[in-house]
């Protein structure tokens, strides 16, 4: 199973549209394949998962391909803090076997997840560290 994005990028602005094609070749023949646009959390808190949009293809045959286009909402952003990390992804799932292909995305106003690091204490002059962790 594969997910190909139209513009071959992983970073999207909130509100942007995500489009591309999905393909599958699976045995036995699935009852349906589902492409899901979702975000999930990881870190200290119990995991939350929210499917924002999906595309269900009934009786897809043992192989095939299909185009898709989703509109991203304005939030939540991909972010990472000391307790929580929120990440976006696309998943193509064959049902009922559960065979899965996943593609991670970054949905953020900057070309990386937002890092929650010390902001302030001064009224002005604070600095923000932008970009992925470790860079």
């Amino acid at each position: 199973m594969c997910i190909d994005l139209a513009d071959d990028r992983r970073w999207y602005l909130p509100g942007d549209s995500v489009s591309g094609r999905v393909g599958w070749t699976t045995e036995p023949e699935p009852e349906a394949v589902e492409l899901r646009l979702f975000w999930h959390t990881s870190g200290k808190g119990t995991e939350d998962v929210e499917i924002v949009d999906d595309l269900r293809i009934e009786a897809p045959g043992s192989s095939g391909e299909r185009g898709f286009a989703f509109r991203l909402p304005l939030g939540p952003y991909s972010f990472s803090g000391s307790l929580i990390t929120l990440a976006w992804a696309l998943e193509l799932v064959a049902l009922p076997s559960g065979e899965t292909e996943r593609l991670d995305l970054v949905v953020s106003p900057i070309p990386a997840e937002v890092l929650l690091e010390s902001l302030g204490r001064e009224p002005a002059g604070f600095t923000l560290q932008l970009g992925p962790k470790g860079q």
Partner: protein
């Protein structure tokens, strides 16, 4: 852990099955055929059971197929009681010589009861069900955790968790919460609401001369040793008839130490004259004592269950409700940006004081019982040193809570900050204007600080407990002034950073923004209020021009 939870589950299941079996046995009586019968004799008899020494004694006869039978069972359930009135009320309903109907067991013709009762014992099933819920839930949690670990090595669908199983934990929490609330609610009715309302009603009851018929110390064995209770039977005349009762309190029967029971018996010696209080509207109801005693505080215990149950239920419901809009739906509505909004504090002063009083009262009433026990043992010359040492930290916490009550009470008289923000729903990267003013004696405030704070909030389970951690990631000082005329009223503006995270809430995780106001008052609790605000993501126009 599994064995521990299995024991809970097994014990709970055994008692649940036994109670359900008894409830079914009682319910079966409703389906027995009705047969005419004659009451031969009725009254209250004393039986050889000090815990429940009275029971209605009603002999009745009936005929089946021309053959006479005699029985004396009023109902299928337990009829003996510690309350003389209850036994008398039952017997008074069946005067000797009266005709009525009884229900006869179709399989055993000499087995009959005068009336079918609702299977009240079925309500007791809530208690063992708590054990079943804890045991079953614990096993589920343990094995779910293990299975998650086992499968984490393979490529599994993350999004599938949103489709299935996501809510099982919450539903379990909802079930346990409802169970606790039901148990707490039912117990609160019987141990708090009914006793207190009856006590209040007895204020109007008429003082009536009475004679003590019998006065004894009852004793019976329990799991914790021998329990004692003073049983004082008194007789009074009302509406031309003599009545006997043994009520001394409206609180359901409770045992005491031997000394207390003996002291009560000595206060009401057999044959002595005293006064009781009789309900003028219903002379069958009376009491020897209508004073408010410490025993009524026991009725506060079920409130702990009730509050815990309501809290769990509310939390589970809140978590189960948001199926789709886990982020504010206004994200996509730019028109919500404009306007002015007056903020409300996260917790008002009255709520703080009431919350503190409830918590301190519950804590100290529970700890107080053990302290009384320790003091009593000490004054009786047999001090329980282990109990006394063990209680020290609990007593200290109780004292701190009492201090907290006074602190929050004094704080309630502080000047109250009023904050107004513009725009009403600020977005990242925009300017936020904050106006402040105070109600009350603002001149007592010596310095004022207003801070825009951002927090991460993560809720997780550790064992059977749920914890929530908060971690600040932003603390942007807006105001820090000590000039009294500036403190009274003012406004400031802050540019909300563009490259940070907007407000976000999901079932277990979130990002919160708030305005924290701190006013320093010398030798008095400070003004401390938090006003939650919602900061929205960058607008579509700004992101995608």
């Amino acid at each position: 852990m599994t064995i521990f939870f299995l024991i809970f589950l097994a014990m709970g299941s055994i008692f649940t099955i036994a109670i359900i079996g008894e409830a079914i046995r009682e319910t079966a009586v409703w389906f027995w055929p009705k047969v005419p019968c004659t009451i031969l004799a009725s009254g209250v008899e004393e039986i050889d059971d000090d815990s429940n020494p009275y029971q209605p004694s009603i002999h009745f006869s009936y005929q089946i197929d021309g053959r006479d039978y005699e029985c004396h069972e009023v109902s299928r359930g337990e009829s003996s009681t510690s309350n003389y009135d209850s036994a008398r009320w039952a017997s008074d309903r069946f005067p000797p010589g009266s005709r009525t109907t009884c229900r006869v067991n179709p399989d055993i013709q000499n087995d009959a009861v005068l009336e079918a009762e609702l299977p009240w014992i079925g309500f007791v099933v809530f208690f063992p069900l708590i054990f079943v819920a804890v045991g079953g839930g614990g096993i589920y949690a343990v094995w779910k955790g293990l299975s998650k670990f086992d499968t984490s090595l393979s490529r599994e669908s993350i999004s599938q968790k949103a489709r299935q199983g996501k809510n099982i934990g919450r539903k379990l929490e909802l079930g346990i919460g409802l169970l606790f609330a039901a148990v707490g609610g039912i117990l609160s009715v019987f141990l708090l609401i009914l006793p207190v309302t009856r006590l209040l009603a007895a204020i109007t009851w008429e003082e009536t001369p009475a004679t003590i018929n019998a006065s004894t110390v009852r004793s019976w064995s329990t799991d914790d040793g021998i329990s004692y209770r003073a049983d004082v039977l008194y007789e009074y005349t009302a509406e031309g008839r003599e009545w006997i009762s043994n009520r001394r309190s409206f609180f359901p029967m409770i045992s005491s130490g031997y000394e207390d029971a003996k002291a009560t018996v000595d206060r009401y010696p057999e044959g002595s004259a005293t006064t009781c209080f009789v309900d003028t509207g219903d002379p069958t109801r009376s009491t020897l004592d209508r004073s408010f005693t410490a025993v009524y505080f026991i009725g506060l215990f079920p409130l702990v269950f009730l509050l815990a149950g309501v809290g769990l239920t509310a939390h589970a419901r809140r978590s189960l409700t948001p199926s789709k809009p886990d982020y504010p739906p206004s994200f996509d509505q730019s028109e919500t940006d404009s306007g002015v909004r007056q903020l409300e504090p996260t917790a008002g002063p009255v709520a703080k004081v009431v919350g503190m009083i409830i918590f301190a009262a519950l804590w100290n009433s529970i700890v107080g019982i053990f302290v009384c026990q320790a003091v009593k043992a000490y004054t009786n010359g047999a001090p329980d040193w282990f109990l006394m040492v063990f209680l020290i930290p609990f007593v200290l916490v109780g004292l701190a809570l009492i201090f907290g009550v006074f602190y929050t009470f004094l704080g309630a008289f502080n000047p109250r900050p009023k904050l107004t923000i513009s725009p009403a729903a600020p977005r990242l990267g925009t300017k936020l204007q904050v106006e402040w003013s105070f109600r009350g004696q603002v001149n007592r405030i010596e310095s004022l600080e207003i801070v825009l704070e951002g927090f991460e909030k993560a809720t997780y389970r550790r064992g059977t407990n749920t914890h929530t951690d908060r971690e600040a990631f932003a603390s942007i000082e807006l105001v820090n002034i000590s000039s009294k005329w500036e403190i009274v009223r003012g406004s400031t503006e802050v540019a909300i950073p563009e490259d940070t995270m907007h407000s976000f809430t999901s079932a277990n995780n979130g990002v919160e923004w708030s305005l924290y106001v701190h006013g320093d008052i010398a030798r008095w609790p400070d003004v401390e209020e938090t006003f939650e605000i919602e900061i929205q993501p960058l607008s579509r126009e700004r992101l995608l021009p």
